[in-house]
Subunit: 473 residues, 2 copies
């Protein structure tokens, strides 16, 4: 860090408290704030979000990208949104590669025969008929594995035992997820027969966490699965006694492209500017997708509905997007960004709720540097909740990444994710984990955010054209 | 309750604290107490129990009654016990009906197709080829079900949704387990196609709890399985929308009698009296049996070893029994009681550790009424741990039930079981759930109990022959 940057960083520690007070140029209109406060009051009593999450997770259940269940979830959403009185309801279709899990099993063959709890990682190739058996080579960390030679692993089963750090803001995940993204590729490069990872997750329970992987076109693929934490412990303990042979069977298949879609509904505004909000409709197949992302769907649908029930036409159109096929690589988000690339300059702000059902504890933004007064204005709006102050680098949520990369200002009501990765991508992501009180706090703050974002004056992009660096993918 | 009994019960509330002081006739010798205290000190530093539990759950893993793994566990135990220097090490064989689980699955077929997490209950018959499909009839409680008519359920799937009360002393289990014992029989009587119960357990995680059932010879058997709590919730929610059809497939089989055995090891004493201690070696097949009952095996082996290392011949022989086939109906315990029925009068006291790895919080006894002074003496011995005072009706532990029923005095260092039924009989019963500190407290108190029981003066049976009501099974 250059000295000047260090000086500014240190300075910011002292001036940060001041930023709670919005400056004169960027403060919100008193009437708008009063309206937002009435929405907050209603949000804390709202039970609609909880009921929506219950309905989606019960009546649809798991809804994997490209599946019949995801299609049923879209129909469910369209029906609900119509009933709630939203306008311009439509499905914007796109294609996604469908991957299915039929069965999966693993066992220590020797020296201590016993089953292991695993789950295939999304996109994995199946094992050959009869499965794969091989001696396990364990790496304490992903870095150790990347540093390992490219030969000497022929026929072996690579096992990355790296743990994940529990974190409130999800930053532990960003580090831990790297092994899920590229281990299979790296194992294939090294001639391994298969690859296992300790699940990317923080649970100590016997659930394996699934999730998507990336395969490069150049490398042969190897079967790739995650062990539950207790099973990773068990395998590591067994290895202390000497060589351990493991058998893996994955009956999974990539079925090629099928149709998926984003469900869109609007509260039309008086201008052609847009406020994009939402959650993602798809889930992994193991659980019923309550925290990932039934919660986000319920919170944003209910918050938008509170706004809708004001019966006041906002300045900007509020566009609720229930994203499809998020889990397999933000496919719906990329399709939307591509389809709407000519109107991205009309996207005033975008945000997604996709971090579980926990309480909001922080605000993060991605506004132009000369518009940070509006970030302060939002913090001022929520001052009584004493939220922590995030940075100005948020993506706005996974499905906002493509928009954000193309210059759309992003905003995020950051949820407490301390326990989120106990459930994330496991069979244990079920409705009983949703707490009404936490969801209500989310709805309260989201409804205020939506109304203010849709009616505030000004612009969140820079006034100086040089700063408008619209990146293309 | 008659008035006189009520009066005595109320009186006991006031006199209970006095019982901490052992009376003159039943107090332990000062030297014996000093020796016990030295054992306690060592027990709190002992790591052997933890290591034994780790070894059993890693090197053997699941060890179902009558399985190859249970046989391997016996060999493991014999080898360990020899190395630890115990004497008269032997396996006392008996026969047990072997039941195997090959696969199990269930799904809501309509109106909301999705998989359900279930586990077959021990002893269940398989479903016919292709499985069973039927409409679900839900009962809020087991009592409601028992009150229901004997007809009108032909082809239906009975679902008992009764919950279990969390309790420190396990009393919630005694009530909740009734539905697991007899629902299948009652469902068969009513012509049902299959039966499901909400798992007997307290976990909110997506684990189904297995366990043994009882089938009467007169009634046809029906396939019988337990749902995880989140899946029971899901089924109950789905039923609020109308009829729900469920499909169940259980590939399980009763293979008939095979050999099992109790592993016995001793520290020989100077008389022919016996002190029986131990835990059970078998476990259910889903987990690795760490809390049920690797903990009891480790605690009693390590505690007896501390006693052994004193190199002092006790008055009574300390007989460590690692019981076989406990989970499928106390089969090893019944076989032992039968084989040793002629020497039961030599069994001075018996106790088992089989309630997980939690801390000891209470002492319970089953001594003759005129020997309750010794119960007070044991409480006095452990006074500094401020243990709660249990009653004089303990069985001494599941495998002590047959002995206790035949008049053998029983003792129990009751463990805190508040969280025990979160793990009990699930895949999640794994070594990582064992806490060294809690295990050490157990070893400390157990080693003192063993030494005192093996050397104390007196007798725990009544001096008045009229009270010696030896029940036969």
């Amino acid at each position: 860090m250059p000295l000047r940057a260090l000086f500014l960083a240190l300075l910011s520690l002292f001036i940060a408290p001041l930023s709670l007070a919005a400056d004169e140029d960027h403060r919100f209109d008193d009437k708008l704030v009063a309206e937002a406060n009435r929405l907050i009051e209603k949000g804390f009593k709202d039970e609609a979000a909880y009921e929506i999450i219950e309905s989606l997770t019960t009546e649809i259940g798991p809804r994997m990208a490209g599946s019949e269940q995801e299609a049923r979830a879209r129909d469910w959403a369209v029906k609900r949104l119509k009933k709630m009185g939203f306008k311009n309801i439509r499905i914007e279709p796109f294609e996604v590669d469908r991957w299915v899990r039929r069965s999966e099993s693993a066992a220590i063959v020797s020296p201590f025969p016993q089953p292991l709890v695993i789950t295939a990682l999304g996109g994995s190739v199946p094992t050959p008929k009869g499965g794969v058996t091989g001696d396990v080579v364990r790496f304490e960390s992903f870095a150790d594995f990347l540093d390992s030679p490219l030969t000497g692993y022929e026929g072996k089963i690579i096992f990355i035992d790296e743990t994940m750090t529990r974190s409130q803001d999800g930053s532990g995940y960003s580090v831990a997820v790297r092994k899920r993204r590229t281990t299979a590729n790296e194992a294939a490069k090294r001639g391994a027969a298969a690859a296992l990872i300790r699940s990317v997750g923080t649970s100590s329970h016997r659930f394996a966490h699934t999730g998507s992987t990336r395969f490069s076109a150049e490398t042969p693929r190897v079967p790739f699965a995650a062990l539950s934490a207790p099973d990773a412990d068990q395998l590591a303990r067994a290895l202390k006694h000497g060589p351990v042979s493991v058998h893996i069977e994955l009956d999974v298949e990539s079925l090629g492209p099928v149709q998926s879609g984003n469900v869109i509904a609007e509260i039309p505004g008086r201008t052609d500017e847009l406020v994009v909000i939402g959650g993602h409709l798809d889930s992994w197949d193991l659980g019923t997708g309550a925290v990932d992302d039934g919660a986000g769907v319920g919170i944003t649908m209910a918050a938008a509905h509170l706004v809708k029930k004001m019966n006041r036409k906002p300045k900007r159109t509020i566009r609720l997007i229930l994203w499809g096929s998020e889990e397999v690589g933000l496919v719906g988000a990329r399709a939307y960004a591509e389809a709407h690339k000519d109107e991205l300059d009309k996207h005033f702000i975008a945000s997604e709720s996709d971090f579980g059902g926990g309480k909001i504890w922080r605000i993060s933004t991605n506004f132009a540097e000369d518009k940070l007064g509006y970030a302060a204005a939002f913090r001022h709006l929520f001052a009584r909740f004493t939220l922590a102050e995030g940075n100005n680098q948020t993506s706005g949520g996974p499905d906002i990444i493509p928009l954000s990369a193309m210059g759309v200002p992003a905003f995020r009501l950051d949820q407490d994710g301390t326990d989120y990765f106990d459930l994330h991508h496991t069979p244990n992501d079920t409705f009983d984990k949703i707490k009404l009180e936490d969801i209500q706090q989310n709805v309260a703050l989201w409804s205020a955010f939506i109304w203010v974002a849709a009616n505030m004056e000004g612009d969140l992009r820079s006034d100086s054209p040089a700063e408008e660096t619209v990146e293309t993918q």
